[in-house]
Amino acid sequence: MKQFVCIRCPRGCRVQIDETTLETTGNSCPRGAEYAKDELTNPTRTLTSTVIVENAVIRRCPVKTDRPIPKPIVEDAAKALDGMKIEAPVRTGQILVEHFMGTEANLVATRTIGKREDA
């Protein structure tokens, strides 16, 4: 048995799930069963962070994975961004790294940043 706090709604049910049968208890609705199953078998998270942006008026560009990536690689993925540099201009949604960390996800910019006038 494993327990997860369901976060699909604010109620926060404590859902117990059996690791072999995937049967759940404690969820007040079917979404809780689905959540516990996902968390047990394939937990994923969207990574958000920043990278250095050059030739811009601000120093950091916020980024995200455009779809959730496996939870176990989130910390390594964040480390992989250390020291990464991009150049302005950049626009929201622009792909910075395709197949980030070998996943289906791309790393994309989440802010439109113009080029500094004197740059």
Partner: protein, 416 residues
Amino acid sequence: MKEYYELIVIGGGPAGLAAAISAKENGLNDILILERDQVLGGILNQCIHNGFGLHHFKEELTGPEYAERFIRELDGTGIDVMTDTMVLEITKDRTVCAVSPKYGYLTLKAGAVILAMGCRERTRGAISIPGTRPAGILTAGAAQRFVNIEGYMVGKRVVILGSGDIGLIMARRMTLEGAKVLACVEVMPYSGGLMRNIVQCLEDFGIPLYLSHTITDIRGKRRVEGVTVSKVDENRRPIPGTEIEFDCDTVLLSVGLIPENELSRQAGIPIDPRTNGPMVDESLQTQVPGIFACGNVLHVHDLVDYVSDEAARAGAAAAAFVKNGAANEGYRLVKTADNVGYTVPQKIAKDAQQVQIFFRVRRIFEESVIEVRSGETLLAKFKRTHMAPGEMERIALPKVLLDKAGDEITISAKEA
């Protein structure tokens, strides 16, 4: 340089943007947004995590993306924007004085004013922690700005006081940037943050949450060297003998937000001591005709989506005021009773149509019921399976129901 606008919006964060766009959609053409930062978007620019927009756009966006959607909507609307412009004073007759490096000192008149200045963080002084006064103690929001916008790390070993959402978000952010977050310490027996953030920002990284605990000492001469954390009793007094020591170089405070109402107070706009925001009617008009308020300057919200919705209502109401002037046949007061901390609005015009009332409960409820009464008469009941102080509640009262009420209605909550 224009000196008169139909509407001046003070603040270009999520509330100000949505209010201005809505006023335009409701027929005003002559709108100005005043923003003290160099860019629009307000606090959303530093909230780089995702989870915004699930209600409003039906998709999950980061803060900057959410802001950009609204900023792009401004294009082509003819709404004027002055950034880097600090409002110094507003008056009851809707004169707005501001200063900007580009235009100097400005005196503007408006047909209506919308207050959308947002809120600021409670600081250490506001809760007076014992101990020394070294460097390394900052609010979670200040840390968020340093890390996400300026690109500076603020510490290596971190203890977070308070479990508000910004503190939880920063626990994850600091961890991913390589810091060790030792603990999140909350004086109340429950967290003030969203469950989703407890799970994804603390539990995901094995960061312990100490409920009913607080920091009772901060050590360090120049830089924080450590803190003492103690358990508290039901009166929030530290219990001797329960001390835990942490060696840390940084303390982040996430101990609440306060609507930023210096300008409103100065203008003589009555403030509700429970929300720290202006008292408003159902159209979000303050006690001063023609001045409206929305977003976190009115009451602290937990979701930006609700800020946008509220601001859109304020924009529509301000447009109606400019076109039709003030008109109503008196008000009903909205009062609070058992377990309800405040309501917005605090009064409702007697000729109002359907009205939405927002409030927060004072403690956690499971199966429960919200009651709306007028005197002894029970007007309406709303069932809930879960309520918590960290989650804003909303009920809608139709006109037929309001017409049955006397001069007051009272909102209360109890176990079902």
